[in-house]
Protein backbone atom coordinates (compact mmCIF):
# COMPACT_ATOMS: atom_id res chain seq x y z
CA UNK A 1 0.00 0.00 0.00
CA UNK A 2 1.14 3.51 -0.67
CA UNK A 3 1.33 5.46 2.54
CA UNK A 4 -0.31 8.84 2.49
CA UNK A 5 2.52 11.32 2.95
CA UNK A 6 2.04 14.87 4.13
CA UNK A 7 0.59 17.02 1.39
CA UNK A 8 2.84 19.78 0.21
CA UNK A 9 1.15 23.10 -0.16
CA UNK A 10 4.11 25.45 -0.54
CA UNK A 11 4.03 26.01 -4.27
CA UNK A 12 0.32 26.55 -4.55
CA UNK A 13 -0.03 28.95 -1.67
CA UNK A 14 3.19 30.93 -1.99
CA UNK A 15 3.87 31.16 -5.67
CA UNK A 16 0.56 30.47 -7.34
CA UNK A 17 -3.17 30.21 -6.88
CA UNK A 18 -5.55 27.86 -8.68
CA UNK A 19 -6.51 29.66 -11.90
CA UNK A 20 -10.23 29.58 -12.61
CA UNK A 21 -11.88 28.39 -15.80
CA UNK A 22 -12.62 31.91 -17.04
CA UNK A 23 -9.05 33.23 -16.62
CA UNK A 24 -7.53 30.12 -18.21
CA UNK A 25 -9.98 30.35 -21.13
CA UNK A 26 -9.03 33.97 -21.74
CA UNK A 27 -5.31 33.13 -21.47
CA UNK A 28 -5.61 30.49 -24.21
CA UNK A 29 -7.64 32.77 -26.46
CA UNK A 30 -5.11 35.60 -25.90
CA UNK A 31 -2.25 33.24 -26.74
CA UNK A 32 -3.87 32.07 -29.98
CA UNK A 33 -4.83 35.56 -31.14
CA UNK A 34 -1.38 36.99 -30.34
CA UNK A 35 0.41 34.16 -32.14
CA UNK A 36 -1.90 34.50 -35.14
CA UNK A 37 -1.47 38.28 -35.21
CA UNK A 38 2.26 37.63 -35.63
CA UNK A 39 2.19 34.81 -38.16
CA UNK A 40 -1.14 35.40 -39.96
CA UNK A 41 -0.71 31.83 -41.27
CA UNK A 42 -4.17 30.61 -40.44
CA UNK A 43 -6.01 33.80 -41.33
CA UNK A 44 -4.26 34.12 -44.72
CA UNK A 45 -5.03 30.52 -45.63
CA UNK A 46 -8.69 30.83 -44.64
CA UNK A 47 -9.15 34.17 -46.38
CA UNK A 48 -7.45 33.24 -49.66
CA UNK A 49 -9.37 29.97 -49.73
CA UNK A 50 -12.70 31.74 -49.12
CA UNK A 51 -12.08 34.34 -51.79
CA UNK A 52 -11.08 31.66 -54.30
CA UNK A 53 -14.24 29.68 -53.56
CA UNK A 54 -16.60 32.62 -54.11
CA UNK A 55 -14.64 33.63 -57.21
CA UNK A 56 -14.91 30.12 -58.66
CA UNK A 57 -18.63 30.01 -57.89
CA UNK A 58 -19.02 33.42 -59.52
CA UNK A 59 -17.50 32.25 -62.79
CA UNK A 60 -18.85 28.71 -62.67
CA UNK A 61 -22.49 29.61 -62.11
CA UNK A 62 -22.80 32.71 -64.34
CA UNK A 63 -26.29 33.28 -63.05
CA UNK A 64 -28.81 36.05 -63.59
CA UNK A 65 -29.45 38.36 -60.66
CA UNK A 66 -32.59 36.53 -59.49
CA UNK A 67 -30.97 33.09 -59.48
CA UNK A 68 -27.89 34.48 -57.80
CA UNK A 69 -30.05 35.61 -54.90
CA UNK A 70 -31.48 32.11 -54.51
CA UNK A 71 -28.07 30.41 -54.38
CA UNK A 72 -26.37 33.02 -52.20
CA UNK A 73 -27.11 31.41 -48.83
CA UNK A 74 -25.80 28.05 -50.06
CA UNK A 75 -22.64 29.52 -51.58
CA UNK A 76 -21.70 31.58 -48.53
CA UNK A 77 -22.23 28.67 -46.13
CA UNK A 78 -20.23 26.27 -48.31
CA UNK A 79 -17.46 28.88 -48.32
CA UNK A 80 -17.59 29.44 -44.55
CA UNK A 81 -17.76 25.71 -43.80
CA UNK A 82 -14.72 24.84 -45.93
CA UNK A 83 -12.69 27.80 -44.69
CA UNK A 84 -13.68 26.99 -41.11
CA UNK A 85 -12.51 23.40 -41.49
CA UNK A 86 -9.17 24.63 -42.79
CA UNK A 87 -8.78 26.89 -39.75
CA UNK A 88 -9.89 24.23 -37.25
CA UNK A 89 -7.40 21.71 -38.56
CA UNK A 90 -4.50 24.16 -38.47
CA UNK A 91 -5.39 25.56 -35.07
CA UNK A 92 -5.13 22.16 -33.38
CA UNK A 93 -2.21 20.96 -35.52
CA UNK A 94 -0.09 23.87 -34.22
CA UNK A 95 -0.64 22.60 -30.67
CA UNK A 96 0.15 18.99 -31.52
CA UNK A 97 3.18 19.46 -33.76
CA UNK A 98 5.33 21.27 -31.19
CA UNK A 99 4.03 19.22 -28.26
CA UNK A 100 2.21 22.29 -26.97
CA UNK A 101 -0.97 20.29 -26.39
CA UNK A 102 0.92 18.45 -23.63
CA UNK A 103 1.92 21.85 -22.25
CA UNK A 104 -1.75 22.83 -22.06
CA UNK A 105 -2.79 19.49 -20.57
CA UNK A 106 -0.13 19.83 -17.86
CA UNK A 107 -1.66 23.04 -16.54
CA UNK A 108 -3.71 22.60 -13.34
CA UNK A 109 -6.90 23.96 -14.90
CA UNK A 110 -10.19 22.41 -15.89
CA UNK A 111 -9.54 21.06 -19.38
CA UNK A 112 -12.77 22.64 -20.56
CA UNK A 113 -10.75 25.89 -20.48
CA UNK A 114 -8.69 24.54 -23.38
CA UNK A 115 -11.88 23.86 -25.32
CA UNK A 116 -13.48 27.23 -24.62
CA UNK A 117 -10.24 29.11 -25.28
CA UNK A 118 -9.88 27.36 -28.63
CA UNK A 119 -13.55 28.00 -29.47
CA UNK A 120 -13.11 31.73 -28.82
CA UNK A 121 -10.00 32.01 -30.97
CA UNK A 122 -11.34 29.79 -33.78
CA UNK A 123 -14.59 31.75 -33.79
CA UNK A 124 -12.66 35.03 -33.93
CA UNK A 125 -10.68 33.79 -36.96
CA UNK A 126 -13.85 32.63 -38.72
CA UNK A 127 -15.74 35.87 -38.01
CA UNK A 128 -12.84 38.01 -39.25
CA UNK A 129 -12.77 36.02 -42.50
CA UNK A 130 -16.55 36.39 -42.81
CA UNK A 131 -16.30 40.15 -42.26
CA UNK A 132 -13.87 40.37 -45.19
CA UNK A 133 -15.64 37.88 -47.44
CA UNK A 134 -19.18 39.30 -47.18
CA UNK A 135 -18.43 42.70 -48.82
CA UNK A 136 -16.43 40.97 -51.56
CA UNK A 137 -19.34 38.61 -52.17
CA UNK A 138 -21.78 41.55 -52.22
CA UNK A 139 -19.63 43.26 -54.83
CA UNK A 140 -19.09 40.20 -57.07
CA UNK A 141 -22.71 39.00 -56.95
CA UNK A 142 -24.34 42.46 -56.72
CA UNK A 143 -26.37 41.40 -53.69
CA UNK A 144 -26.82 43.38 -50.49
CA UNK A 145 -25.82 41.09 -47.61
CA UNK A 146 -25.93 43.74 -44.89
CA UNK A 147 -29.11 42.55 -43.27
CA UNK A 148 -29.06 42.45 -39.42
CA UNK A 149 -31.04 39.20 -39.43
CA UNK A 150 -28.61 37.56 -41.84
CA UNK A 151 -25.62 38.73 -39.79
CA UNK A 152 -27.20 37.24 -36.64
CA UNK A 153 -27.71 33.93 -38.46
CA UNK A 154 -24.08 33.96 -39.62
CA UNK A 155 -22.99 34.51 -36.01
CA UNK A 156 -25.19 31.70 -34.66
CA UNK A 157 -24.20 29.31 -37.46
CA UNK A 158 -20.52 30.07 -36.96
CA UNK A 159 -20.79 29.44 -33.21
CA UNK A 160 -22.42 26.04 -33.82
CA UNK A 161 -19.94 25.05 -36.51
CA UNK A 162 -16.91 26.06 -34.42
CA UNK A 163 -18.34 24.48 -31.23
CA UNK A 164 -18.63 21.04 -32.80
CA UNK A 165 -15.60 21.56 -35.07
CA UNK A 166 -13.24 22.37 -32.19
CA UNK A 167 -14.31 19.23 -30.34
CA UNK A 168 -13.85 17.01 -33.40
CA UNK A 169 -10.56 18.70 -34.37
CA UNK A 170 -9.25 17.83 -30.89
CA UNK A 171 -10.09 14.19 -31.62
CA UNK A 172 -8.78 14.18 -35.20
CA UNK A 173 -5.47 15.82 -34.29
CA UNK A 174 -4.49 12.74 -32.25
CA UNK A 175 -4.50 10.64 -35.44
CA UNK A 176 -2.06 10.42 -38.32
CA UNK A 177 -4.80 11.13 -40.87
CA UNK A 178 -6.06 14.29 -39.16
CA UNK A 179 -6.25 16.36 -42.37
CA UNK A 180 -8.74 14.04 -44.02
CA UNK A 181 -10.38 12.79 -40.85
CA UNK A 182 -11.71 16.15 -39.64
CA UNK A 183 -13.99 16.88 -42.64
CA UNK A 184 -15.19 13.25 -42.62
CA UNK A 185 -16.15 13.54 -38.94
CA UNK A 186 -17.32 17.13 -39.02
CA UNK A 187 -19.56 17.47 -42.06
CA UNK A 188 -22.10 14.77 -41.09
CA UNK A 189 -22.35 16.11 -37.51
CA UNK A 190 -22.59 19.71 -38.73
CA UNK A 191 -25.39 18.99 -41.23
CA UNK A 192 -28.16 20.27 -38.89
CA UNK A 193 -26.37 23.56 -38.27
CA UNK A 194 -25.55 24.03 -41.96
CA UNK A 195 -29.12 23.26 -43.12
CA UNK A 196 -30.60 25.58 -40.50
CA UNK A 197 -28.09 28.32 -41.34
CA UNK A 198 -28.71 28.04 -45.10
CA UNK A 199 -32.50 28.06 -44.65
CA UNK A 200 -32.49 30.98 -42.22
CA UNK A 201 -30.02 32.97 -44.35
CA UNK A 202 -32.12 32.28 -47.46
CA UNK A 203 -35.22 33.42 -45.60
CA UNK A 204 -33.69 36.78 -44.71
CA UNK A 205 -32.30 37.28 -48.25
CA UNK A 206 -35.67 36.48 -49.83
CA UNK A 207 -37.50 38.78 -47.42
CA UNK A 208 -39.60 35.97 -45.90
CA UNK A 209 -41.71 36.64 -42.83
CA UNK A 210 -39.87 36.27 -39.55
CA UNK A 211 -42.29 33.61 -38.34
CA UNK A 212 -41.14 31.39 -41.24
CA UNK A 213 -37.47 31.88 -40.37
CA UNK A 214 -37.86 31.54 -36.60
CA UNK A 215 -37.90 27.70 -36.46
CA UNK A 216 -34.50 27.60 -38.22
CA UNK A 217 -33.10 30.20 -35.83
CA UNK A 218 -34.43 28.18 -32.90
CA UNK A 219 -32.74 25.09 -34.30
CA UNK A 220 -29.45 26.99 -34.55
CA UNK A 221 -29.72 28.20 -30.95
CA UNK A 222 -30.59 24.72 -29.64
CA UNK A 223 -27.75 23.17 -31.65
CA UNK A 224 -25.27 25.72 -30.28
CA UNK A 225 -26.35 25.08 -26.68
CA UNK A 226 -26.36 21.29 -27.03
CA UNK A 227 -22.94 21.06 -28.64
CA UNK A 228 -21.27 23.50 -26.26
CA UNK A 229 -22.73 21.49 -23.34
CA UNK A 230 -21.65 18.14 -24.85
CA UNK A 231 -18.15 19.45 -25.50
CA UNK A 232 -17.91 20.79 -21.93
CA UNK A 233 -18.76 17.32 -20.62
CA UNK A 234 -16.62 15.16 -22.93
CA UNK A 235 -13.58 17.29 -23.81
CA UNK A 236 -11.59 15.89 -20.91
CA UNK A 237 -12.00 12.36 -22.29
CA UNK A 238 -11.30 13.46 -25.86
CA UNK A 239 -7.86 14.83 -25.03
CA UNK A 240 -6.88 12.03 -22.62
CA UNK A 241 -4.37 9.55 -23.98
Amino acid sequence: MVTKSARLSKSVTERSTSPNLFKATLAIAWKDLTAEYRSRELFSAMLVFSLLVILIFNFALELDIKTRQSVTSGVIWVTFAFAGTLGLNRSMAVEKDRGCLDGLLLAPVDRAAIYFGKVISNLAFMLIVEIVVLPVYSFLYSINLFNPGLLAVILLGSIGYIAVGTLLASMAVQTRTRDVLLPILLFPVAIPVLIAAVKASGGFLNGDEFSMILPWINLLIVYDIIFVAIAFMVFDYVVEE
Binding site: R15, S18, S39, C100, P108
Partner: protein
Protein backbone atom coordinates in the same frame (compact mmCIF):
# COMPACT_ATOMS: atom_id res chain seq x y z
CA UNK B 1 7.67 12.85 -2.68
CA UNK B 2 6.92 10.23 -5.36
CA UNK B 3 5.54 6.81 -4.45
CA UNK B 4 4.72 4.24 -7.10
CA UNK B 5 3.54 0.71 -6.36
CA UNK B 6 3.06 -2.14 -8.82
CA UNK B 7 2.48 0.17 -11.76
CA UNK B 8 1.31 -1.62 -14.89
CA UNK B 9 0.69 0.07 -18.23
CA UNK B 10 -0.72 -1.72 -21.23
CA UNK B 11 -1.27 -0.46 -24.76
CA UNK B 12 -3.75 -2.95 -26.17
CA UNK B 13 -2.10 -6.38 -25.88
CA UNK B 14 1.35 -4.93 -25.25
CA UNK B 15 2.46 -4.47 -21.64
CA UNK B 16 5.04 -1.68 -21.41
CA UNK B 17 5.35 -1.38 -17.62
CA UNK B 18 5.10 -4.66 -15.69
CA UNK B 19 4.86 -3.69 -12.05
CA UNK B 20 7.12 -0.74 -11.38
CA UNK B 21 7.91 0.14 -7.75
CA UNK B 22 9.55 3.53 -7.43
CA UNK B 23 10.13 5.93 -4.52
CA UNK B 24 11.76 9.33 -4.57
CA UNK B 25 12.54 11.31 -1.43
CA UNK B 26 12.24 15.13 -1.32
CA UNK B 27 15.32 16.79 -2.85
CA UNK B 28 16.57 13.66 -4.61
CA UNK B 29 17.76 13.85 -8.23
CA UNK B 30 16.99 10.49 -9.80
CA UNK B 31 18.33 9.53 -13.22
CA UNK B 32 16.06 6.97 -14.82
CA UNK B 33 18.19 5.09 -17.33
CA UNK B 34 17.37 2.38 -19.79
CA UNK B 35 17.46 1.33 -23.43
CA UNK B 36 15.03 2.55 -26.08
CA UNK B 37 11.59 1.07 -25.59
CA UNK B 38 12.15 0.33 -21.90
CA UNK B 39 9.13 2.48 -20.99
CA UNK B 40 10.91 5.54 -19.55
CA UNK B 41 8.81 8.10 -21.41
CA UNK B 42 5.60 6.17 -20.71
CA UNK B 43 6.49 6.10 -17.02
CA UNK B 44 7.18 9.84 -16.94
CA UNK B 45 3.95 10.60 -18.82
CA UNK B 46 2.03 8.66 -16.19
CA UNK B 47 3.78 10.58 -13.38
CA UNK B 48 2.91 13.80 -15.22
CA UNK B 49 -0.77 12.76 -15.40
CA UNK B 50 -0.65 12.82 -19.21
CA UNK B 51 -1.37 9.10 -19.38
CA UNK B 52 -3.42 6.83 -17.15
CA UNK B 53 -1.97 3.72 -15.49
CA UNK B 54 -3.65 0.40 -16.29
CA UNK B 55 -3.07 -0.78 -12.70
CA UNK B 56 -1.11 0.32 -9.65
CA UNK B 57 -0.93 3.13 -7.13
CA UNK B 58 0.81 6.46 -7.62
CA UNK B 59 1.23 9.43 -5.29
CA UNK B 60 3.06 12.60 -6.17
CA UNK B 61 3.56 15.22 -3.43
CA UNK B 62 0.97 13.32 -1.40
CA UNK B 63 -1.72 13.44 -4.08
CA UNK B 64 -3.05 10.39 -5.78
CA UNK B 65 -3.04 9.85 -9.54
CA UNK B 66 -5.19 9.90 -11.58
CA UNK B 67 -7.92 11.00 -9.12
CA UNK B 68 -6.16 14.16 -7.91
CA UNK B 69 -4.41 14.99 -11.16
CA UNK B 70 -5.03 18.75 -11.01
CA UNK B 71 -3.41 18.99 -7.55
CA UNK B 72 -0.41 16.99 -8.83
CA UNK B 73 -0.08 19.15 -11.95
CA UNK B 74 0.05 22.30 -9.80
CA UNK B 75 3.13 20.90 -8.03
CA UNK B 76 4.86 19.48 -11.09
CA UNK B 77 7.07 20.88 -13.84
CA UNK B 78 7.79 18.90 -17.01
CA UNK B 79 10.54 19.32 -19.59
CA UNK B 80 10.59 16.98 -22.58
CA UNK B 81 12.69 16.81 -25.72
CA UNK B 82 10.02 19.02 -27.34
CA UNK B 83 10.09 22.56 -25.91
CA UNK B 84 6.28 22.88 -25.46
CA UNK B 85 6.64 26.55 -26.40
CA UNK B 86 4.97 28.75 -29.01
CA UNK B 87 7.33 29.96 -31.72
CA UNK B 88 5.19 32.98 -32.63
CA UNK B 89 5.24 34.33 -29.08
CA UNK B 90 8.23 36.02 -27.44
CA UNK B 91 10.03 34.40 -24.52
CA UNK B 92 8.22 36.77 -22.15
CA UNK B 93 4.81 36.11 -23.73
CA UNK B 94 5.32 32.35 -23.48
CA UNK B 95 6.07 32.65 -19.77
CA UNK B 96 3.19 35.12 -19.35
CA UNK B 97 0.82 32.60 -20.91
CA UNK B 98 1.99 29.64 -18.84
CA UNK B 99 2.10 31.80 -15.71
CA UNK B 100 -1.57 32.65 -16.22
CA UNK B 101 -2.39 28.97 -16.78
CA UNK B 102 -0.75 28.14 -13.44
CA UNK B 103 -2.16 31.17 -11.62
CA UNK B 104 1.33 32.46 -10.75
CA UNK B 105 1.20 35.52 -8.50
CA UNK B 106 3.48 38.55 -9.05
CA UNK B 107 3.98 37.17 -12.53
CA UNK B 108 6.07 40.00 -14.00
CA UNK B 109 8.67 39.69 -11.23
CA UNK B 110 8.69 35.92 -11.46
CA UNK B 111 9.22 36.02 -15.23
CA UNK B 112 12.24 38.29 -14.76
CA UNK B 113 13.66 35.91 -12.11
CA UNK B 114 13.19 32.87 -14.32
CA UNK B 115 14.64 34.50 -17.44
CA UNK B 116 17.65 35.54 -15.37
CA UNK B 117 18.04 31.98 -14.09
CA UNK B 118 18.06 30.45 -17.58
CA UNK B 119 20.23 33.23 -19.00
CA UNK B 120 17.70 34.63 -21.45
CA UNK B 121 16.96 38.07 -19.98
CA UNK B 122 18.49 39.80 -23.00
CA UNK B 123 16.22 37.85 -25.36
CA UNK B 124 12.95 38.28 -23.44
CA UNK B 125 11.29 40.25 -26.26
CA UNK B 126 12.48 37.98 -29.08
CA UNK B 127 10.24 35.45 -30.79
CA UNK B 128 10.94 31.91 -29.66
CA UNK B 129 11.12 30.70 -33.27
CA UNK B 130 14.33 32.74 -33.63
CA UNK B 131 15.97 30.87 -30.72
CA UNK B 132 18.48 28.07 -31.15
CA UNK B 133 17.49 24.59 -29.93
CA UNK B 134 19.57 25.06 -26.79
CA UNK B 135 17.95 28.41 -25.97
CA UNK B 136 14.50 26.92 -26.50
CA UNK B 137 15.37 24.10 -24.12
CA UNK B 138 16.57 26.56 -21.48
CA UNK B 139 13.35 28.54 -21.86
CA UNK B 140 11.43 25.25 -21.57
CA UNK B 141 13.11 24.75 -18.19
CA UNK B 142 12.10 28.29 -17.27
CA UNK B 143 8.52 27.42 -18.18
CA UNK B 144 8.69 24.27 -16.06
CA UNK B 145 9.94 26.06 -12.92
CA UNK B 146 7.81 29.22 -13.34
CA UNK B 147 5.21 28.11 -10.79
CA UNK B 148 7.90 26.91 -8.36
CA UNK B 149 7.01 23.20 -8.52
CA UNK B 150 8.12 20.69 -5.91
CA UNK B 151 8.85 18.02 -8.51
CA UNK B 152 10.40 18.38 -11.97
CA UNK B 153 10.38 15.65 -14.61
CA UNK B 154 12.93 15.81 -17.42
CA UNK B 155 12.37 13.50 -20.37
CA UNK B 156 15.56 13.24 -22.45
CA UNK B 157 16.29 16.98 -22.12
CA UNK B 158 19.58 16.72 -24.06
CA UNK B 159 18.04 15.33 -27.26
CA UNK B 160 19.17 17.35 -30.28
CA UNK B 161 21.57 19.61 -28.37
CA UNK B 162 25.18 20.18 -29.37
CA UNK B 163 28.05 20.13 -26.84
CA UNK B 164 27.89 23.84 -25.98
CA UNK B 165 24.13 23.82 -25.57
CA UNK B 166 24.35 20.64 -23.47
CA UNK B 167 26.94 22.25 -21.17
CA UNK B 168 24.75 25.31 -20.70
CA UNK B 169 21.79 23.06 -19.99
CA UNK B 170 23.92 21.23 -17.39
CA UNK B 171 24.39 24.51 -15.52
CA UNK B 172 20.68 25.27 -15.60
CA UNK B 173 19.80 21.76 -14.41
CA UNK B 174 22.30 22.03 -11.57
CA UNK B 175 20.82 25.34 -10.46
CA UNK B 176 17.31 23.83 -10.59
CA UNK B 177 18.45 20.86 -8.48
CA UNK B 178 20.35 23.14 -6.07
CA UNK B 179 17.06 24.82 -5.16
CA UNK B 180 16.05 21.64 -3.35
CA UNK B 181 13.53 20.40 -5.87
CA UNK B 182 12.89 16.74 -6.45
CA UNK B 183 14.01 15.79 -9.95
CA UNK B 184 13.46 12.71 -12.08
CA UNK B 185 15.32 12.68 -15.39
CA UNK B 186 15.31 10.06 -18.13
CA UNK B 187 18.43 9.96 -20.25
CA UNK B 188 20.59 7.86 -22.51
CA UNK B 189 23.61 9.95 -21.60
CA UNK B 190 25.30 8.10 -18.73
CA UNK B 191 28.08 10.68 -18.39
CA UNK B 192 25.64 13.57 -17.87
CA UNK B 193 23.40 11.48 -15.61
CA UNK B 194 26.44 10.55 -13.53
CA UNK B 195 27.38 14.20 -13.21
CA UNK B 196 23.93 15.39 -12.10
CA UNK B 197 22.00 12.67 -10.30
CA UNK B 198 22.10 11.53 -6.69
CA UNK B 199 20.49 8.18 -7.54
CA UNK B 200 20.44 5.94 -10.60
CA UNK B 201 17.53 3.63 -11.45
CA UNK B 202 17.63 1.30 -14.42
CA UNK B 203 14.32 0.63 -16.14
CA UNK B 204 14.49 -2.52 -18.20
CA UNK B 205 11.81 -4.83 -19.60
CA UNK B 206 9.11 -2.80 -17.84
CA UNK B 207 10.48 -2.96 -14.27
CA UNK B 208 13.10 -1.14 -12.20
CA UNK B 209 15.87 -3.69 -12.68
CA UNK B 210 18.41 -1.99 -10.39
CA UNK B 211 18.81 1.08 -8.23
CA UNK B 212 21.84 2.64 -6.58
CA UNK B 213 22.63 5.94 -4.89
CA UNK B 214 25.70 7.98 -5.74
CA UNK B 215 27.26 6.86 -2.42
CA UNK B 216 26.69 3.21 -3.28
CA UNK B 217 28.18 3.68 -6.68
CA UNK B 218 31.62 5.00 -7.35
CA UNK B 219 31.86 7.25 -10.38
CA UNK B 220 33.87 4.79 -12.41
CA UNK B 221 31.36 1.96 -12.54
CA UNK B 222 27.99 3.45 -13.58
CA UNK B 223 28.49 1.93 -17.01
CA UNK B 224 29.17 -1.55 -15.61
CA UNK B 225 26.27 -1.15 -13.15
CA UNK B 226 24.04 -0.23 -16.11
CA UNK B 227 25.25 -3.14 -18.22
CA UNK B 228 24.82 -5.62 -15.37
CA UNK B 229 21.28 -4.38 -14.71
CA UNK B 230 20.35 -4.82 -18.36
CA UNK B 231 21.97 -8.26 -18.53
CA UNK B 232 20.33 -9.46 -15.32
Amino acid sequence: MIEVRKLIKRFGMKTVLRGVDFDVQPGEFVALLGPNGAGKTTFLRILASLSHPSLGEIRVAGYRLPNEAAAVRARLGVVSHLPLLYGDLTAEENLLFFGRMYGVTKLENRISEVLEMVGLSARRHDLVRTFSRGMQQRLAIGRAVLHDPDVILFDEPYTGLDQDASSMLDDVLKSVAAQGRTVVMTSHDLVRAEDLATRFDILSRGIIAASATRKELSKSNLLSFYKEALAG
